[in-house]
Amino acid sequence: MAKAKAKRIFTYVFLTIVAFVSIFPFFWMLVSSTNASVDVTKGRLLPGSAFIDNFNKLIDSTNLVQALGNSAIISVISTLLALFIGSMAGYGFEVYRTKSRDVVFNILLLSMMIPFAAIMVPLYRMFATISGVAPVIGINTMAAVILPTIATAFLIFFFRQNTKMFPKDLLEAGRIDGLSELGIFLKIYMPTMKTTYAAAAIITFMSSWNNYLWPLIVLQTPDQQTIPLLISNLGAGYSPDYGVIMTAIVIATLPTAIVFFIMQKHFVAGMVGSVK
């Protein structure tokens, strides 16, 4: 039994090390946001009292509030549109299943294999062209950030998989009650599938909030900045103020961390459900 005990000890030691490595950057980031830059450089690992100071410096030297607002607007609109369009399609492909639509579905899935780097140049040129005709959705607009994210094969696939579990009797009941097909979707399907929507919303919101490359290309003026762009710019400075930068990172990470902790169960179930 000594062997079993040794194995047990190894398990705990190993998992503790892995957990420590996973958590330490968070701990360091939180502690550093409360310390002045000099103390961060010295390797101070205790909470300090400079958070308010760092926060004020951050507000004064950057347009943090505007960036937070931009990110929030973009993420919320992207998520709402992507969920609506994706769930409608997932529902449509599963409930009104035909051979020809199955073919279309499979073709759409191929878009998951398309790397963003391969389409970013044509997308940029597309929005540059649109700028000439309709500046409200061209370069440097939130619409240009949002539009390419509203139709994703992942969400269609995700909703289609989950629709398989949607009780079809409810469809018939809705028809007998005289609801239109769209009415059934809006009034019966959507409320029934609340948890599926919740999981999809977390995944979509997080990826939108954290999106970097496309906003970097399409938003070129400081007042258009989103949070990842702001952090990237702060981090690129030559004499970084560590305390201020860590404060910005903590503020940027909070929304997704909070969303994650509230919805942890849905999030994990959502990710796993999507590959079954």
Partner: protein
């Protein structure tokens, strides 16, 4: 025409109506740009002044040393990072799957936590952790593992290692969750039977766990491969591709060609097709490998 036919027709139209927006969106923002990129790859010029130039971009690709560097860097990330992450994720999930283990949910949450950070935010944090006077060097020197600070960001070799460590930190927990949920679906009586037959933990892992998890391992290895081939945020925010071009990835090279140097959209599109081809080829290989093992 009987009522059944017209109802079916109506349903068919309703079906198309439901999927229409998504189809239009994906065609407009994925497939149309893919075709545009292909057309662009046969054009040359600066900025918006592009002219058809046949295969000249492809000829340039073959002799482009920066491309070769970016390609080999990307492959180094892929060959080291993906297997390390998958094996580590599998190993941790097997340990965590033991129902008698205490603090399980703490360990699981802790190890999954890196996934809530944005790629940019964690990259900046890692850049400072791995600075010459950063926490990592202070820690290693404190333990007397190293005498002098390692130049994590500015040494060509260590800069690649830093990127690999960073990506592994960010994504191992993500893959682990997939393995963990699959492990929970495995009937424990299989292991009981194996134990009675005298199979040790090692044999159980390779003869039972790995074969049963094969579909999910294939899934994570393909998504990780696609992700690694596109790596951009970390490189841009930790090393900026440097020192020299020692950490530059293909995505960053495409970005530089389009938006940093004088814009060469045609050549950038040519380089971008190399990623498309790589993703297709590697995915086919991974499917083949998984398929062959199943038969064997």
């Amino acid at each position: 025409m009987n009522t059944g036919d017209s109802l079916q027709k109506k349903n068919n139209l309703t079906g198309w109506a439901f999927v229409l927006l998504a189809v239009v969106g994906i065609v407009a923002f994925y497939f149309y740009p893919m075709i545009q990129a292909l057309l662009l790859s046969f054009k040359s010029g600066v900025g918006a002044n592009l002219e058809f130039s046949g295969l000249s971009n492809y000829k340039r690709l073959l002799v482009d040393t920066t491309f070769r560097t970016a390609l080999s860097n990307t492959f180094i990330y892929l060959i080291i990072q993906v297997p390390v992450m998958i094996i580590l994720g599998l190993f941790i999930s097997v340990l965590l799957n033991d129902s008698t283990l205490r603090f399980r949910s703490f360990f699981r949450t802790a190890i999954f936590l890196p996934c809530v950070t944005s790629l940019v935010a964690y990259s900046v944090v890692f850049k400072y952790l791995f600075a010459p006077d950063g926490m990592v060097n202070q820690f290693l020197m404190g333990l007397h593992i190293i005498g002098d600070p390692i130049q994590w960001i500015t040494d060509p070799f260590w800069a690649k290692i830093t990127i690999i460590i960073a990506v592994t930190w960010r994504w191992t927990g993500y893959n682990m969750i997939f393995y963990l949920s699959s492990l929970q679906n495995i009937d424990q009586s299989i292991y009981e039977a194996a134990r009675i037959d005298g199979a040790n933990a090692f044999t159980q892992f390779f003869k039972i766990t790995v074969p049963l998890l094969k579909p999910i391992i294939l899934f994570t290895s393909i998504t990780s491969t696609i992700g690694t081939l596109q790596i951009f945020d970390e490189i841009m925010n930790i090393t900026k591709g440097g020192p020299g071009n020692a950490t530059m990835s293909i995505s960053q090279y495409i970005y530089n060609l389009s938006f940093k140097y004088s814009p060469d959209f045609g050549y950038a599109a040519t380089v971008s097709y190399s990623i498309v081809i790589l993703i297709i080829v590697l995915s086919i290989i991974q499917f083949k490998v998984a398929g062959d093992n199943k038969n064997g």
